[in-house]
């Protein structure tokens, strides 16, 4: 058994409706929810694996496969959409060669589309890891990405 998981479950065990919170903690730690941990969790909490998976697959936030090293989130909120977010997404897909929800072959980037990042004043917005890029232009994307590639 995974000692961290045991500790986590102990902390939440007495509380009602703990499943989502535990999944959050697991994803925070691993970047996704690994199947082995779901299996262990099902035993520890004494609930069927199907119950855990129905929750994971319902919510957009939880992932079942490891994301790339850098998480790219492109905002598709209304404000960003009106100011040309779809062009940004298109360009991103062209450069990275992946569709939304996929990791690049080198494992460096994971491309995600989100509903709203809550900074509509800066539309169109994209986020790489925890850095927000506002008022992004299509022509700037290659530049932004190159910074992360150079770091390698």
């Amino acid at each position: 058994m995974n000692p961290e998981l045991i500790k986590l479950v102990e902390e939440w065990k007495g509380k009602d409706g703990n499943l989502i919170m535990i999944l959050h903690e697991i994803q925070n730690h691993h970047g996704y929810v690994p199947r082995e941990l779901s299996l262990e969790l099902s035993k520890m909490l004494d609930i069927p694996l199907a119950r855990i998976y129905e929750v994971i697959t319902f919510y957009n936030f939880f992932k079942l496969s490891p994301p790339g090293k850098h998480l790219i989130r492109i905002c598709m909120g209304t404000a960003c959409y009106l100011r040309g977010a779809s062009l940004i997404l298109e360009e991103m897909k062209n450069i990275l060669g992946v569709q939304e929800g996929q990791t690049t072959k080198d494992g460096l980037f994971y491309l995600d589309v989100v509903r709203c990042l809550g900074c509509c004043g800066l539309a169109p917005v994209l986020m790489i890891d925890n850095k927000v890029y506002g008022k992004v232009k299509k022509s700037e994307i290659a530049d932004i990405l190159s910074k992360y590639i150079k770091e390698e």
């Binding site: 009602d16 409706g17 703990n18 499943l19 989502i20 919170m21 999944l23 959050h24 129905e54 929750v55 319902f58 919510y59 957009n60 936030f61 939880f62 598709m76 909120g77 209304t78 404000a79 959409y81 009106l82 100011r83 989100v114 509903r115 709203c116 990042l117 809550g118 900074c119 509509c120 004043g121 539309a123 299509k138």
Partner: protein, 580 residues
Amino acid sequence: MYEKTVLIKDTDLRREDKTRQAYTQFLDHLRQNDQHSRIQVVRVADVGLYDKGLVIKVLPDRITYANVQDRDLERIANSLCENKEAIKDLVYKPKVKQEKLALRNCGKIDPENINEYIACGGYLGLKRAIFELGAEKVIEEVKTGAIRGRGGAGYPTWLKWNFACKVSSEQKFVICNADEGDPGAYMDRSILEGDPHSVLEGLIVAAFAVGASRAYFYVRAEYPLAVERIEKAIKAAYDYGLLGKNILGSSFCLDAEIRLGAGAFVCGEETALISSIEGRRGTPHPRPPYPSIKGLWGKPTVINNVETLANIPQLISKGGKWFAQIGTETSKGTKVFAVTGKVKNSGLVEIAMGATLREIVVDLCGGTLSGGPIKAIQTGGPSGGVIPQELLDTPVDYENLQKLGSIMGSGGMIVMDEDDCMVDIPKFYLGFCVDESCGKCAPCRIGGFQMLNYLKKITEGRGELNDLIHLKRISYAMQKASLCGLGQTASNPVLSTLKYFENEYIEHIVNKRCPAGKCNHLITYKVIEDKCKRCGLCSTNCPVNAISGDKEKGYSIIQEKCIKCGRCFEVCKFKAIYKK
């Protein structure tokens, strides 16, 4: 510690920013009078006014000077040095005034310091509730204030509280709904990040009124800073005896904790939110029974929106009568709007109910980005509708927006100009709702999908006039038969655009043309010969070699080959590519 703070910013966008120059000048005046240790001068990035020349704001006096000339700088500096009253002829008089209730402390206090909140009159509402009023009178006070839910539907808050209060149960719950999923709205995030204690105080008062012993914050996981600030606020409240056992020495006990959302729009709906807190899939349940009677774990539960709760402390401490003075006959208080889209100064605006759309979008936010006319304003997010430009003088309240086929919603206000297509916009929103539909009930799951297909068909130039009839029929069926608010309102964007912009749909269907030039399939690109300088940039940039010609003969686009990517339109430096 400085006695006064002076904020300074040049708001004129057309000229070079003179903030630094004015800042130095102002500071020099203070130095000459030896007052610079008493008065602090700060250059800021935004003072909330635009196109008003040099703006100087004096805090804590809240005096604003706009269009300040160089010669006036000295007068203002001197008046400050000598502690004189504001210089009346320079004071800025706004045409429309914002009124800050929910945002009263945002940006003014340190949100992570409970003492600053208390110094601004914080937790006085709770004190009055417990020691002066008692549960029943708190509800009475909220009834007098007539505040309605700020999350969307506008249900009277006191009614929710009253139902839950009247039910006898050994345990009751209160929940703060901070699952702000509406794309284009971020007022709840701003309140939680800027003034978490006001929401917490509201929640404690609500718990006291209905007799709840446990409170939950249901927050989006996408708002990590908000989560962190609420966590800190809860901890501080425990330390100060405002949460836990025997709050403020009374017999009232309450525990509070945070539960995280996980990216599901439908969880903003009360019954789905309850499922999610219980650790299950966020699918809604039929109502009645309403959550006020049978909610979380089958116990009476009151769910209020962030902005509603942020208003409660003042409503209680200053009284319902005071609150009811603000706003219109049916909608009391203020509302925070997130004005975004094609608007010059996007941001949050808090204004008394009853202000017109024009006042909000044109007078406060400066109109469209391009300076051109507004085509429409969309309110209420995916559940709302569009309001055309000719109705901009409508006073905003719950009833008026509903009459126009839209809703107040959580307060998102999206400005659209002539480049926005009124078939594309509902397609965008419907795409959102189809994506976020939980799939439990058929009208929403199937209806939304079919409607989206019709809209796709129309925007791709395959539409028929009959499609409009189908769209309307499905819309009505979804409104009547869907289980929760998501499905019931998902068709609003379609119905409202059909109501006000039907000719634009017809243009797409009959003439196969998109007047706004947005729908890719219906656009044609052409080279305007008179403007073309024959540089060949378009031809080299075309990914499919659809531009033929050379520098001698000029260029033209071969329509059969063109994939309408718009690359030529973007690269042409002479605006010689025509798009329609």
